[in-house]
């Protein structure tokens, strides 16, 4: 892990700690989701800094990060699968395929990616606001909390944040 990765990882860990704190407190969904989105974005950027070059400044990256993990070189596959509690890498790949729709929805919580619709920060639509995040029931929150896949995604994100140095160079 290089110095740049370490800096981004530190911020991802802090964002993720805040996400778990907010989730346990039961505050408005938008706040938990905002920190989850930020944690996953920074985790992805920490990973992409492994090249030593800055990743794009855009808020996207989490889905791409998951895709990269699903396509690592053969020699790293068993180790990565074990790290994320899967017995076989193919099971990890199948799991990734199943949860990617939820990961996309998490990524699209960032206002820049929300197509002027529900996002975790600002009232929308921009030109004539009608909705406020603090009062909104987010479909992605329902997916994360009420389905085993959603809860599993949160478990894997937690492992990814905590164990980042174990796969930062893969």
């Amino acid at each position: 892990m290089n110095t740049y990765q370490d800096l981004w990882w530190q911020q991802a860990r802090s964002d993720h700690d805040t996400f778990e704190l907010l989730r346990r407190q039961g505050v408005a969904e938008c706040h938990s989701l905002h920190y989850l989105q930020m944690a996953t974005e920074k985790l992805a950027k920490a990973y992409f800094w492994r090249s030593g070059s800055p990743p794009p400044k855009k808020h996207a990256g989490f889905v791409q990060f998951l895709r990269f993990l699903g396509a690592v070189r053969q020699s790293d596959r068993d180790r990565l699968a074990r790290l994320f509690s899967f017995g076989r890498f193919v099971d990890f790949q199948n799991w990734l395929r199943a949860i990617l729709p939820i990961a996309y929805d998490v990524e699209r919580l960032a206002p820049d990616l929300a197509s002027d619709g529900p996002n975790s920060e600002y009232p929308w639509p921009h030109a004539h606001p009608k909705f406020v995040p603090a009062d909104h029931r987010f479909a992605v929150w329902k997916s994360l909390t009420e389905s085993s896949q959603g809860r599993d995604l949160m478990r894997i994100i937690r492992i990814a944040v905590k164990q980042f140095p174990e796969f930062a160079d893969i």
Partner: protein, 110 residues
């Protein structure tokens, strides 16, 4: 979600029903009331669509619900495969710290 007064048993049943509706892989939900706070609901959900995993995945995800209301409580959900459930029952795998199978209440899809 039902609001107003908090009835832990009814709420546990309600969560189980809601999860049965949205997740076709759930075979059974176990409510584990022993050793928990009066405002905490602990559920084990046995799911046959979860990929086989090592037992390091046995981690409950907990949420705060209805903060500041009479119905304020926390919900913790442990998702397991049928094989992991059998291991838990046999004592070959460990529940999260403080959890107990004693007094378990089983819910099945209606």
């Amino acid at each position: 979600m039902p609001a107003t007064q908090f009835d832990r048993d009814s709420m546990a049943r309600w969560y189980a029903n809601e999860h049965f509706k949205t997740d076709p892989g759930i075979e059974a939900v176990y409510f584990l009331p022993s050793n928990s706070d009066d405002r905490e609901i602990r559920l084990v959900e046995v799911n046959n669509l979860i990929a086989d995993r090592t037992n390091e995945s046995l981690e409950a995800i907990d949420f705060g619900v209805d903060r500041g209301m009479d119905s304020e409580h926390s919900l913790s959900v442990l998702d397991v495969t049928p094989a992991q459930w059998e291991q838990l029952r046999a004592g070959d795998a460990s529940l999260p710290a403080g959890w107990s199978l004693e007094g378990q209440i089983r819910y099945e899809p209606r």
